[in-house]
Each structure stands twice: as structure tokens, then as C-alpha cells.
């Protein structure tokens, strides 16, 4: 087996990360909306191998926690209630990859809930919320980037290929979009939308809003590539042989834009994940009790949370590997494109 090199390495890493988020229901121990009102703001629970008596256990375990008397958010471990870590347990219902109904969870404990990353203001499991919140944020990023690229390629290719006044018009519109203060535009757009929207509708609204705003940059890049590609000798030759516009675009010109599009995709996805997070952070994203990375971070707007419960920062860490992956992929793709490797791959029609 040949070790993956260059962009492939990043790609594999990203597939693994997305796989985890895709199967979040399996890896998350609990239903992300389930409240445990006796245990708000539980700090991440400690994994033990040694019990109080000093005996070593092969199976890691937790001690159940309870509120310290007279306190609201100070917890203490109960030495009399041992919660051994169990794997592949049956728990809350979920749908694997959003399709297959299942109750199987990667790990869990019986007797009391365990909080690997602590709990939030309502006693909801932070780990489950981060994992399932990732589904919303990443999917919004991926679909938003897809929509943007679709629009960008369509408009960019049209402008570059047909030229003339169409090019002028489309590119002026694109400039307008680039110049727009998009955050305010998003806020304004969201304000026009109906007052109460279901989480699903809110999610698709975000994708459409986010996707529809960002097309200008990829469109300009694609237009540039198309402009140079359509003057190439082999394109002229094909035209000379009577090739129609559609054929030229599909066979000769659009494949040239592949490296640009791929690089753009790798840049746009994290950008749009961030856009979704911004909207959710400001309370304009998916409503409660559905989690997304942005809405998880929104509780940090409160000073008291900021200084008291450090585990509420965790969602911010969750995005780091994803962003590194995407940015690594983008720069590797760019390098490969410079070396002409991408073209080899894409000309095989495998992308």
C-alpha cells in the first residue's frame, strides 16, 4: 500500500473527521436535547482507574456526582456510586447518518449519566451537543459551499465564455456582492424571514442565505480561467471542427477550472461553517434545543459563564481540527495544481 501523499493525506484526515461527525449519534452517549435538571454545569467528569481504596481496575470508571449541599454549581464525587465505562450500550434513539434508526451508542454508563465534557445550563451533555452540533455546522458549511460553487461556476463560466456585455453585467454584479458587508446583509435578511421557523427550515434558510451571498469570488476566479482556456489552441481547434458551445464548455473548458474549484471548495467550507456559527452565535441560526457549534458558543456571551465554566469553550476547540484539515487541503491542492498533478487526476474524470 502506498502511503497517501499531498492533498490525499489531508483528504483522508477530513473524511475520518467527517465520518465521526456523520455518525455523531453513535459516538455521542446521550440525546443532545435531554435535560438533567439535577446537574447543571457539571464540570467534565474524571476517569478513574484506581478507586479510593487504592485498588486498580482494568475497566475505567467514573464516580457519580451530586450537588454540594447549599450550592448551585459545585459538585462532588460520590464514592459509593461507581459508574463503570461500558462500550456499545443501548441508549437514546437516533438516526445514523440521518437515516438508519438505532439505539446503539459507542460508550455509556448505567446508573447515572456521565459527562466527559461537562454539562450545560440545563444539564445537557456537552459532548453529545458538540458532536451533533457539528452535524448542523458542517452540513451547513458543505451545502453552503456547494451552492456557492454551483452559482459561482455557472455565473463565472457564463461571463468568461460569452464575454461582451454579459461579462460586464455579471462582473459588475459580482463586484457589488464582494463589496457588500455580508454580515449585516445576513442579519437584515434573517430579520425579514418569518418569526417562528422550525429548526429544519431555519437550517435550510441559513444555507441558502450563506450560499447565495458568497458566489462572487469563485465566479471571478472561474471566469479568469475560462477566459484563458477558451483562447487555447485545442479549444480553437475543436471549435474549428464545429464543436458547439455546450460541448466546448463541458469537454475542454470546465475541466480546466477543476483545480480552482477544488481549492475554492476547501477554502469556502470552513468559511461557511464560520458563517453558520456567526449567525447561530447571534441567535439567528437553528433555534433551541437543536445545537450547532455557534449556538453552543452563544452561552459565552454571558460574563458569568465566561469566567465560571471553562468547559463551555470546548465547542471552539472542536472546530480546530476541521479548519486545519480544510486549510491544509486547500494549500496542498494549490501546490499540486501548480505541479500539474490535479489536472492529471481530473482529466481522468475521477473527481
Amino acid at each position: 500500500m502506498i502511503p497517501p501523499r499531498g492533498w490525499k493525506r489531508w483528504f483522508v484526515a477530513l473524511v475520518v473527521l467527517h465520518g465521526i461527525i456523520g455518525c455523531a449519534g453513535f459516538f455521542a452517549p446521550y440525546d443532545p436535547a435531554e435535560q438533567d435538571r439535577e446537574r447543571p454545569y457539571v464540570p467534565p467528569m474524571r476517569i478513574h482507574m484506581m478507586d479510593i481504596a487504592g485498588h486498580f481496575h482494568f475497566r475505567p470508571f467514573f464516580y457519580a456526582v451530586q450537588l454540594r449541599a447549599g450550592s448551585f454549581d459545585q459538585f462532588e464525587e460520590r464514592a459509593d456510586q461507581v459508574l463503570p465505562l461500558q462500550f456499545l450500550v443501548s441508549g437514546a434513539r437516533y438516526r445514523l447518518l440521518g437515516l438508519v434508526p438505532s439505539r446503539l451508542h459507542f460508550f455509556g454508563a448505567s446508573g447515572s449519566r456521565i459527562y466527559l465534557l461537562g454539562s450545560d445550563a440545563y444539564g445537557r451533555d456537552q459532548l453529545s451537543r458538540i458532536l451533533l452540533g457539528g452535524q448542523i455546522s458542517l452540513l451547513a458549511g458543505l451545502l453552503g459551499a456547494g451552492l456557492t460553487l454551483f452559482l459561482g461556476v455557472l455565473i463565472g463560466a457564463a461571463a468568461g465564455f460569452y464575454g461582451g456585455w454579459r461579462d460586464g453585467l455579471l462582473m459588475r454584479v459580482a463586484e457589488l456582492f464582494v463589496a457588500l458587508p455580508w454580515l449585516y446583509l445576513l442579519l437584515a435578511l434573517r430579520a425579514f424571514l418569518p418569526l417562528s421557523v422550525s429548526p429544519l427550515r431555519a437550517f435550510f434558510l441559513i444555507i441558502v442565505v450563506v450560499g447565495a451571498v458568497g458566489w462572487a469570488r469563485p465566479a471571478r476566479l472561474v471566469r479568469g480561467v475560462v477566459l484563458s482556456a477558451k483562447e487555447r489552441d485545442y479549444v480553437r481547434a475543436a471549435r474549428g471542427f464545429g464543436a458547439k458551445n455546450n460541448y466546448l464548455l463541458q469537454r475542454h473548458i470546465l475541466p480546466q477550472t477543476a483545480s480552482v474549484i477544488l481549492t475554492q471548495a476547501a477554502i469556502l467550507v470552513p468559511q461557511f461553517v464560520l458563517a453558520e456559527m456567526t449567525l447561530s452565535f447571534l441567535g439567528l441560526g437553528v433555534p433551541e434545543p437543536v445545537a450547532s457549534w455557534g449556538s453552543l458558543l452563544a452561552s459565552l456571551q454571558q460574563y458569568s459563564v465566561l469566567v465560571s465554566y471553562w468547559w463551555m469553550y470546548m465547542p471552539a476547540l472542536a472546530i480546530v481540527p476541521f479548519f486545519l484539515g480544510y486549510l491544509g487541503l486547500a494549500s496542498a491542492l494549490q501546490e499540486d495544481a501548480g505541479a500539474g498533478k490535479i489536472e492529471k487526476v481530473t482529466s481522468g474524470g475521477r473527481w
Binding site: A33, Q35, R37, P40, F72, D73, R93, A121, Y122, G123, L195, S196, V197, S198, G283, P287, E288, P289, Q302, Y303, S304, V305, V307, S308
Partner: protein, 600 residues
């Protein structure tokens, strides 16, 4: 942010007891403060003997819109006016919740309860040194009752459909003639600031009263009877008040109050920023704290002490849209309004709500669950016989079944409630987007009702547009709000309970009461308004509370404690559960040592 906090304050619009305020002042140098002379009848206050001097700085969450007591309707304006610049004839003691003499040293009520004879203190002076006499009182009432002035306290001074008639007996004695007996009695006079005739009569006669006292008016043009007078107003930054040398109270040793030389209000619109300023020692007092910030401050208290004054008068509640569906009502909403108008539906929702969890998770235990509008902070008016049922999903289910609702199995296998037309029961709850507490309550209720098979969506909305939806367009399904009474007396909330009231939130400003029980509440409220004795009025208001508990137009949730903090060096600090929580005895506050006065 400011509006959100405002939302805690019920009477954003013109609810009765907007504390009228007093005035501000600041005559140019008058030399040394006059010494108490024998011709003056100063009010002697009990309490620790303090030291003169010093300056207290407090945060105000928004810039006051005005300092004119006639037009002050917003909470920050009232806080300044009420806390420091105003004085009234008879005052409600914020700690005891009972009335006590203020500018009037004594009063008599006639046997029929229609005539109040008030005797003024001798030697009273406005903060610019001008003497006060009965003509100032007459002038004040003339202005307040003038429709053209649009004074916020006008409604209050119309008793039994007629304005109160005021007559002067001599320079110290004024007679007030009411058309009908008034249950709350002399509480009427609380918060009604006495205006300086010598400054305001000319502008009033010229019809220029509104322009003559604005924030732009120089300090020398103000005069009031409160412990402090205006020194400097810096737009967007701060308001500096200085000691009123003519103030009419003294301590037990005979030194004229107030002790403090200056009282400074900083405009700090953000609650978290207020916490930071207090923590760093920039401000000396803090009030209106959320439970979370309170526990953050409590954890590291050293130079200051945080205290929990107990439940206040704020009551938070969920209410449904009980308006009559009109032609413009969207069909979807009209369909849902049928559920809302079903009393068993409302009772079921109430039974399913976990109020203890709200107190624990929203207020960190620093609050009280509510089943009626009268909070435990109100000592005299609560109806002890109102049941406090524990949360019961079984009872909720039984009620829903009786009302014709049934359950089906939803798409994910969970039970879903449907109405008699097999439409699934779901509704949205509006909350103010800047009020984290109420959004939290909504999130808990959402989960409570999920267990009944009811789907709830939470819609955080900007406060003004929320109020607009509730009172104007009336396009909403349910909403969580909170109200704060200004006084423990039920008359303060007439506007909420009377069906014609603008704050009768579930169906405001009705021409005729829409339901039999609203008609009964109207009658009871009017009876108690004129009621002869406390016992009789209490009986009537108890019945109002019963009707509210039975019909659940508001599903009462919880009341937060009044949480405050003060530097250890401040003496006579006795927080009250009535507004203004920490400044109600501003004239008695003092610094115990000189070092308390040194600030970074």
C-alpha cells in the same frame, strides 16, 4: 440591552404608579449649608449616625430620557428621580412597605374617607433655597391634572372618574377632595413630586413646560425637594448630583442629611459591564443583578459584600394570545387560538411546567416559584389559599383528554398531542432576545411540554417589536414576560387586571370584558380601588387571585430575589425589595472611613 432590562419593568407604558419624581436643582453657591433653625420642622430618621462627605458612584443601565418628573416613564429616569431627586407629600417606606410622613408632617382623613387634610412641614425649602408653601402643592396638582401636559401620573389622580380637587386652607395646610373613596388611601401621594412654582409657573402659563425642563436645562434652572440636586449632566457618560443643603431630614443627632457630598450615576448599558465596574471598585453599589453574576461576584467578595434581599415584586409568566380572532388574523393562528381559549388547555400547560426547575436553573435557587401574581416579597396581599400544586404530567394529560385532545405516535416513535381535528399541537413562545433569563425559562418549558407531546418553538424577539406584537398587531401565539409592581398595593397593577387596561397583556384594552371571569375581576378591582378597609380590600383581591389561578390567563412562573452588592465601607446599607432597591435611603448612606472614598 437596556430595553431588555426594561422589560422586567412592567409598566413600560403608562401604568399607574410611575413614580413621579422630583426635581433637580442647583443654585449657584449659597455659601455654607444653612444650619437647622428652630423654624424648621426637620424629619428625624432613626439609623446609624454617619459621617459627612464622600461620593457614591452607581451604574445606570441606560441614560435617563428625562429628569422631569412629569414625563418620566422609563426605568432609569425613575431610578434617578425617585432615588435621589424627588420628594413626595406622603411616602411609602421601601423597607416596611407602609406609608410615613414626608413633606406632609401629618394628615387627617375625614370620616367618609373622601377628604384628606395634609399639613406641611414648616420651613421647607427647595434645593435652590426658595421656600415651599401650599401654592406649590396647588400648582403641582394643577399641572399634573392638565391634559395638555400629559403627565404620567394623571390617571392616578382621577379617582371615581373625577380629578382630585385641591384646596388651600392656609400656607401650611392643603385639603384634597376625592369624588369616591380610594382604597389605597394616602399611598396616592407617594411618588408625586412637588414642583417649584417659582421656576415653572411662567413656562406653564406660556405653554412651554415641555421645553423648559429637559436634559439640556442648566443645573441652575432645576429645583427639587430630594436629598440631592443636579450638578452636572454629561450626555452619554454620567449624571452628577450633589448634596441638597436644604434637605428636610436629619439624623438622630440632629445633623442635616444627606451625608454624601455627591451621588454619581454612570451610564453602563450592559449588565456584564456593570458587574466588571463594580468588581474593579469603580462603582460602589450594584443592584438588579442576575443570579449568575451574583454568584460570580459572591465568589470573590472581599472589599464588598453581596446580599440577597429576598424575593422582590417581579413576577414572570407565560401567557397565550386570548384575543378575539379578527379578519386579519392568519388562519393558522386563529386555529391555535381555539386551544388557547380553552381553559383546560391552559390549566394543563400550567400543570406540566416545572417551576422548581425554573427557580433552580434560571435563578440558581435565588427566587421563588409562583402560582399567582403576588410574590412572597409582598407581605400584605398574598392569598395564602391559592393552591401550589406540584408539577404533574398525569394531571396535565387528564385535563387535555377532557378538553378533547388525544395522542398519536409521532414520526420518531414519540407521542404527539393532537386536537380534535387531528392537527398536531405546537406553538411558539416569544421572549425578549436580550433577556437571557426568560429565554432560559422558555427552554425549560419547551422540554416540559415535549413530555406532553406538545412541540414548542422559542422565538427570541427584540423587545420593542415583541411589545408591538402583543399590544398592537396581536400576532403571536404565546409569550413570556415579567412585570414589576411599583408598590405592594394591588392598585399599582390595576392596569394589568382591568380588562380595559393597556397592560392586560393577554387581551389588552378591551371595550367590554370578553369573559365572565374578566368581568368579575373588573368589578372586584373597582371595588377594592374604593374599598373602605384593608381587610375588605384584601378579601376582594384574594378573589381576584383565585380567579386568576382558576382561569390561568397568565401562567405564573417565578419571581427572582433582589440581589444587590455594596462596598463594605458603606454604612446604613439596607436593600429593599421595592424600587429603588439600594438607593431608597440614599440620604442615609455614608462612608464608614475616609479610605472608602479613595478610588482607583
Amino acid at each position: 440591552m437596556s430595553m431588555a432590562r426594561l422589560s422586567t419593568f412592567g409598566k413600560w407604558f403608562s401604568c399607574g404608579l410611575l413614580l413621579a419624581g422630583a426635581e433637580i436643582v442647583s443654585p449657584p453657591a449659597f455659601g455654607n449649608p444653612p444650619q437647622a433653625s428652630s423654624s424648621e420642622e426637620l424629619l428625624t430618621l432613626p439609623g446609624e449616625i454617619g459621617k459627612q462627605g464622600g461620593r457614591i458612584v452607581v451604574s445606570l443601565r441606560a441614560e435617563p430620557k428625562t429628569l422631569n418628573p412629569l414625563t418620566a416613564a422609563d426605568a432609569p429616569s425613575r431610578e434617578v428621580i425617585l432615588g435621589a431627586m424627588q420628594a413626595d407629600l406622603i411616602h411609602i417606606n421601601r423597607a416596611t412597605q407602609l406609608t410615613e410622613p414626608a413633606l406632609a408632617k401629618s394628615w387627617k382623613v375625614s370620616a367618609d374617607g373622601l377628604q384628606y387634610t395634609l399639613t406641611l412641614r414648616k420651613g421647607l425649602r427647595f434645593s435652590d433655597g426658595e421656600p415651599v408653601d401650599a401654592d406649590d402643592i396647588l400648582f403641582t396638582f394643577r399641572v399634573c391634572l392638565d391634559e395638555k401636559v400629559h403627565a404620567t401620573q394623571r390617571d392616578l389622580l382621577i379617582v371615581g372618574g373625577k380629578p382630585i380637587a385641591v384646596r388651600k386652607l392656609d400656607a401650611q395646610t392643603v385639603v384634597f377632595q376625592l369624588a369616591k373613596t380610594y382604597g389605597a388611601g394616602e399611598r396616592l401621594f407617594d411618588g408625586l413630586a412637588i414642583l417649584p412654582r417659582h421656576l415653572l409657573e411662567k413656562p406653564y402659563n406660556d405653554g412651554k413646560l415641555a421645553q423648559s425642563w429637559t436634559l439640556a436645562t442648566p443645573a441652575s434652572q432645576w429645583a427639587g425637594l430630594g436629598p440631592f440636586r443636579l450638578k452636572e449632566y454629561v450626555a452619554g457618560q454620567k449624571l452628577v448630583l450633589e448634596r441638597n443643603p436644604y434637605y428636610w431630614k436629619q439624623d438622630a443627632k440632629g445633623s442635616r442629611l444627606p451625608y454624601l457630598e455627591e451621588l454619581v450615576f454612570l451610564f453602563v448599558p450592559n449588565a456584564d459591564a456593570q458587574v466588571l465596574r463594580f468588581q474593579s471598585g469603580e462603582t460602589d453599589l450594584i443592584s438588579r443583578l442576575g443570579a449568575e453574576n451574583f454568584s460570580v461576584l459572591s465568589r470573590q467578595q472581599s472589599s464588598y459584600t453581596m446580599s440577597d434581599a429576598g424575593p422582590g415584586l417581579e413576577y414572570n409568566f407565560l401567557f397565550f394570545n386570548l384575543n378575539e380572532p379578527g379578519e386579519k388574523t392568519p388562519p393558522d393562528l386563529a386555529r391555535k387560538m381555539k386551544w388557547f381559549r380553552e381553559v383546560k388547555f391552559r390549566q394543563a400547560i400550567s400543570a406540566a411546567i416545572d417551576r422548581e426547575a425554573i427557580v433552580r436553573l434560571v435563578y440558581q435557587g435565588r427566587g421563588a416559584p409562583l402560582w399567582g401574581p403576588v410574590t412572597p416579597g409582598n407581605h400584605r396581599w398574598g392569598n395564602a389559599s391559592i393552591p401550589h400544586p406540584q408539577r404533574s404530567l398525569d394531571k396535565a394529560r387528564a385535563l387535555l383528554k377532557e378538553a378533547g385532545f388525544t395522542w398519536i405516535t409521532g414520526p420518531n416513535g414519540e407521542p404527539a398531542l393532537v386536537d380534535s381535528d387531528a392537527k398536531s399541537v405546537e406553538f411558539s413562545i416569544l421572549t425578549s432576545s436580550t433577556n437571557a433569563d426568560r429565554t432560559k425559562m422558555a427552554t425549560l418549558i419547551q422540554d416540559d411540554l415535549k413530555q406532553l407531546g406538545v412541540r414548542v418553538q422559542i422565538v427570541p424577539t427584540e423587545f420593542r417589536s415583541l411589545i408591538d406584537r402583543v399590544t398592537q398587531t396581536r400576532e403571536y401565539e404565546a409569550c413570556i414576560l415579567g412585570l414589576v409592581s411599583f408598590d405592594a398595593d394591588p392598585t399599582a397593577d390595576s392596569n394589568v387586571w382591568l380588562s380595559s387596561g393597556g397592560t392586560h397583556l393577554w387581551n389588552p384594552s378591551q371595550a367590554h370584558p370578553a369573559t365572565a371571569w374578566e368581568a368579575e375581576i373588573d368589578k372586584l378591582m373597582e371595588q377594592q380601588l374604593a374599598g373602605p378597609s384593608y381587610e375588605q380590600r384584601k378579601k376582594w383581591f384574594d378573589r381576584v387571585q383565585e380567579l386568576l389561578a382558576e382561569n390561568q390567563p397568565m401562567i405564573f412562573l417565578a419571581s427572582p430575589d433582589i440581589l444587590v452588592g455594596a462596598k463594605n465601607s458603606i454604612g446604613n446599607f439596607h436593600p429593599a425589595v421595592l424600587e429603588p432597591y439600594v438607593l431608597w435611603n440614599a440620604e442615609q448612606l455614608y462612608f464608614k472611613d475616609a479610605s472608602g472614598n479613595v478610588r482607583p
